[in-house]
Subunit: 147 residues, 2 copies
DNA sequence: GCAATACAGGATGTTTTTATCCTGTTTTGT
DNA sequence: ACAAAACAGGATAAAAACATCCTGTATTGC
């Protein structure tokens, strides 16, 4: 389980977020897979798949051919961590009993209700954080930037 | 990614929690793997491994041989969801930069700080929920119980 | 003592996730 | 037009997670 970030987030989510943040920081220049890979330390072949997924959902825009590359498809203050996560590895709230007990159909038991409330709190953090907020954070460490 | 609960919690965590809750509900009778498996709908061979892990960490007690089985090793109000999760598939807070950028050594960048704050909020929910609380919840649906 | 019950743990198999490779297509700059 | 740049997507491979099977050992009830 060492490959999961915090034992919770998949590598794919981590990679997608790094790529998106990198693109948010480069609003004026198309970024090739190779460039993003270098900046984010994500293996480029895998990154390519992740970018395909982000493209399909319209989070990024792609231009093919020479001098092509990727570009963020929205303003960074209109895109949240949540949008990225939902695109590549969706966080799904628990809505029905995993055991399919008939009496739990309408209302989760307390165990799954608690687990779902943990998911809810993640959802809240992610929904409320835009890329702009990440970049303008008072935190001296800038994402992906060794300054 | 369909096998992960909410795209976040591993099957193993889900299984361990079901087993522990079942044991908490049966404080007076040793429960065999077969009994727990039936009540929780966890595949018994896999459940056996999970119970071994819980035993090694002292969350449950085992008695081998005829009329043996498992028993919760603590009072249900002294065991939290967090204890169970940490035993089988630990939630690890993000403490160092996954990219190992030297400037992030001491302080996470805003991206990983946010991800860690999501982990923190899960940790808070899990740490604050005891098995007793799960069982005494005003929620009409009792865990594992089709009533 | 002995047969039956029940867990321990190694070996093995399957599925999902992560990662790479290669061929084909699009687009550009000359 | 054409060579080079760059992505798309299928095939394949490696690793981790999930799951099963089987043999051995401990314990009990008779």
């Amino acid at each position: 389980m060492a490959s999961k970030i915090g034992g919770m987030f998949s590598q794919t989510v981590e990679y997608a977020l790094r790529a998106i943040v990198h693109l948010a920081k480069q609003p004026d220049a198309l970024q090739t897979t190779a460039q993003i890979s270098k900046a984010t330390q994500v293996p480029s072949a895998y990154l390519s798949k992740v970018l395909q997924t982000l493209t399909r959902d319209g989070l990024v825009e792609v231009k093919r051919g020479v001098s092509g590359g990727y570009l963020l498809n929205k303003s960074p203050d209109e895109m949240t961590i949540y949008d990225v996560v939902q695109c590549v590895d969706p966080l799904q709230r628990i809505r029905t009993c995993p055991l399919e007990l008939s009496s739990h159909r309408k209302r989760l038991c307390s165990l799954h209700a608690k687990m779902d409330s943990a998911l809810e709190s993640i959802e809240n953090v992610f929904r409320s954080t835009t890329l702009t907020e990440l970049m303008n954070s008072p935190n001296p460490s800038v994402p992906l930037c060794n300054v």
